[in-house]
């Protein structure tokens, strides 16, 4: 019984490897990118790119296991959802109203520790915000929001 189940699982696992997912990789320079339309301090620029851009831009730096199902599906779903919510590459195209509400959500999500996602920082330790980085980034985003 156990053996049959193990075989069945193995077959399913091998089978799903034949399903490929679309990869979110489009390198390029976006004139409307968050970093282009705003004057972001160098340190924060790097931090935001490392912590946010994998799911909130048009170019993901994929980990090795992204080639393996079902991880690839899981990642793709997160990236699609993340980009629909906020795409840093398209920042300049958002109206002031939308910038304002996105900044509000960004600030509150980072403040509450909801972003970056726990499942993401679990494997990307460098994406995590230290307390001081958190403070810095929130200060910057708040200032940006108030300047709209």
């Amino acid at each position: 019984m156990f053996k049959t189940l193990a075989w069945a699982l193995l077959i399913v696992f091998v089978g799903i490897q034949f399903f490929s997912t679309d990869r979110n990789q489009k390198e390029g320079i976006y004139v409307s990118d968050f970093m282009k339309v705003n004057t972001v301090p160098q340190m924060l620029q790097h931090k935001i790119e490392v912590s946010c851009y994998d799911c909130h831009s048009n170019n993901t730096k994929y980990p090795w296991y992204s080639r393996i199902q079902p991880a690839a599906w899981f990642l793709e779903a997160h990236i699609q959802e993340g980009k629909a919510e906020l795409n840093f590459n398209e920042w300049g195209d958002y109206s002031d109203r939308r910038k304002n509400s996105k900044l509000r959500s960004m600030i509150s999500q980072i403040e509450d520790g909801d972003m970056p996602l726990g499942s993401y920082t679990f494997v990307h330790r460098d994406a995590e915000f230290s307390e001081s980085q958190k403070k810095e980034v929130i200060e910057y985003l708040t200032q940006l929001k108030n300047s709209l």
Partner: protein, 147 residues
Amino acid sequence: MVSNSAQDSKGAAMVGEYLSIKNALVADHTDAAAKAGGKLVTALDSFDVSDFSDAQQTELKDIIVDAKEQAEHISDSPMEHQREHFKTLSKDVTDMVAIIGADMKLYEQFCPMYDGGSTWLSASNEVKNPYYGSKMLTCGKVQKEIN
């Protein structure tokens, strides 16, 4: 402003769902707020902007996209997040009503305590706070009468 009655009723549906969310948050009912959030998405989707001037259409489309995002979040978030999105939504709906008008009297109310000061719309001049619910039900004041 437009006097087309089908248009008025769509605006009324939109305001109606917004007020349902507000009432649910006043009563601390996450599920009811979520349900009304879903209905608001539908109401916003079916709102036809074609009768308005070009400038108003641009403004309305912008508001609708933003309001829809807030309503979607309200439809699948815990209460604390619903309230955060309700603040942004309130601004959107207030701005929308300023363009399309409302077929009922509305009161803009203000709570100085929530997130550095937040407003909302109510059909009654009696203050019932959607940002705190039962915790601080009567915190706030009427800031403006609309219509």
